[in-house]
């Protein structure tokens, strides 16, 4: 495919695809690698090494590009994000240590099952009422984690209480470890953990995940840069496109129906689940 293309055309196609990745990623709380990697490798014939390097850049760009708006609109729960970053960063470090010790194949299979289960559980929650009281959590009270945001689409202020903080923190540790080990799923594990365990509204889960993935991405980006995996000719247009897409996406999320965001996330989660199962089986 790439043999019939000039570098200029390549730059424009990468840029355009990255805008799409930025819009989707910023709405769902994911990094955009799910769009960037297949477009670069399958469509444009880029070496997988550079595609992964570019997708790390895409994660950070999605996060920073959208978070500026989400934080200002109080959709992101900053306190929850910063607390949970304890789990994700220490998990990522553990993952880096365990790197060679665990066979990736089994991990892919295990987390394929975890993601499939999360997708089903999240789908079943689609009619649940966020105002239903959640089990009390003294830690969430003490750390003042509860929050509220104005939902543009519903036209009302949504007040919510956070629960099961220790479980959420433990799940973030696992999520950080898995993304450190497998290099994927930084957002696709965080959103279900906040949604299912901590009972955050879906838009809060997605924007809070969006906020956190920037830090997880930055932690590993240094390694990729030093290894020479971040090719400026590829990662440059990816960064520019994703930054613009994420800014656009952050304006869209407020107007979308929460149940729609949830179903879209479930679909992506099932896709990741299948991809991981494939990697686990084929190796």
């Amino acid at each position: 495919m790439n043999s019939c293309m000039s570098p200029l055309a390549f730059t424009f196609i990468t840029f355009a695809a990255s805008i799409v990745a930025g819009v989707c990623g910023s709405i769902l709380g994911l990094g955009g690698g799910i769009v960037v990697i297949p477009v670069l490798t399958l469509l444009l014939g880029v070496d997988i090494r550079f595609a992964i390097g570019a997708s790390i850049v895409s994660v950070i760009a999605t996060s920073s590009g959208a978070a500026a708006a989400y934080v200002r609109e109080h959709m992101t729960n900053l306190r929850v994000a910063m607390l949970l970053e304890l789990g994700t960063t220490s998990g990522a470090l553990t993952g880096a240590f365990l790197g060679g010790l665990i066979a990736g194949r089994w991990l892919f299979l295990i987390f394929s099952v975890v993601m499939g289960y999360s997708a089903l559980a999240m789908f079943q929650k689609r009619h649940s009422d966020p105002s239903v009281p959640v089990p009390p959590d003294p830690i969430a009270d003490r750390l003042k984690l509860h929050g509220e945001y104005f939902d543009e689409q519903a036209g009302e202020v949504v007040r919510y209480r956070v629960t099961h903080t220790p479980l959420g923190l433990a799940l973030m540790y696992v999520a950080g470890m898995v993304s450190g080990l497998l290099g994927i799923g930084s957002g696709s594990l965080k959103v279900p953990a906040m949604d299912l365990a901590m009972h955050l509204p879906i838009k809060v889960s997605s924007t809070t995940s969006n906020f956190m993935i920037g830090v997880t991405g930055a932690a590993s980006a240094g390694v990729y840069f030093a290894r020479g995996d971040i090719n400026p000719f590829i990662a440059g247009p990816v960064a520019a496109g994703v930054l613009i897409g994420a800014t656009l996406g952050s304006r869209l999320l407020g107007r979308l129906k929460s149940s729609w965001v949830r179903v879209a996330f479930v679909v992506v989660l099932l896709w990741v689940c299948l991809q991981m199962a494939y990697k686990g089986i084929v190796g």
Partner: protein, 138 residues
């Protein structure tokens, strides 16, 4: 700073939010501008990239070497190489979330929120540790 006493409690959170939002916005706009300038310069320096179909294969397979150490980036920068400028923009983008964590420590200290100042400090140290480890293993 007498004004802090009259602000309702929630305003402390709002101030931290605004500070972080502004920091992210500045980081994003600056890095986007630098990346775009670098990309345009790359094409200005290499007019053949506008048409040549052979050039692309070298660029995306890594045969056409690009800088990936700070020293190489600096040398390229002095010669106004487009790709070195793009890398500076990318490095700034990577640094933005790290700066965000660093600035939050001070924001929480200023709001006298000791627990969250401590939490953010630990996150910041873990981040630095992963950078050091990354350098060692790369």
């Amino acid at each position: 700073m007498t004004s802090t006493q009259t602000i309702p409690q929630n305003a402390a959170v709002l101030k931290v939010e605004l500070l972080i939002s502004n920091l992210l916005r500045i980081g994003v706009i600056t890095s986007l501008t630098i990346v775009v300038i670098g990309t345009v310069l790359t094409f200005v320096h290499h007019p053949e990239y506008l048409q040549s179909r052979d050039a692309l294969a070298d660029l995306i397979s890594g045969k056409n070497a690009f800088p990936h150490t700070i020293g190489e980036v600096w040398t390229g920068l002095l010669m106004l190489h487009g790709r070195s400028i793009v890398i500076v923009g990318l490095l700034l983008l990577i640094a933005t979330p790290v700066m965000r964590v660093g600035v939050s420590i001070f924001a929480f200290l200023y709001e006298r929120d000791r627990i969250f100042a401590l939490i953010t400090t630990i996150v910041f140290l873990l981040l630095l540790l992963s950078f050091l480890l990354g350098k060692a293993t790369a």
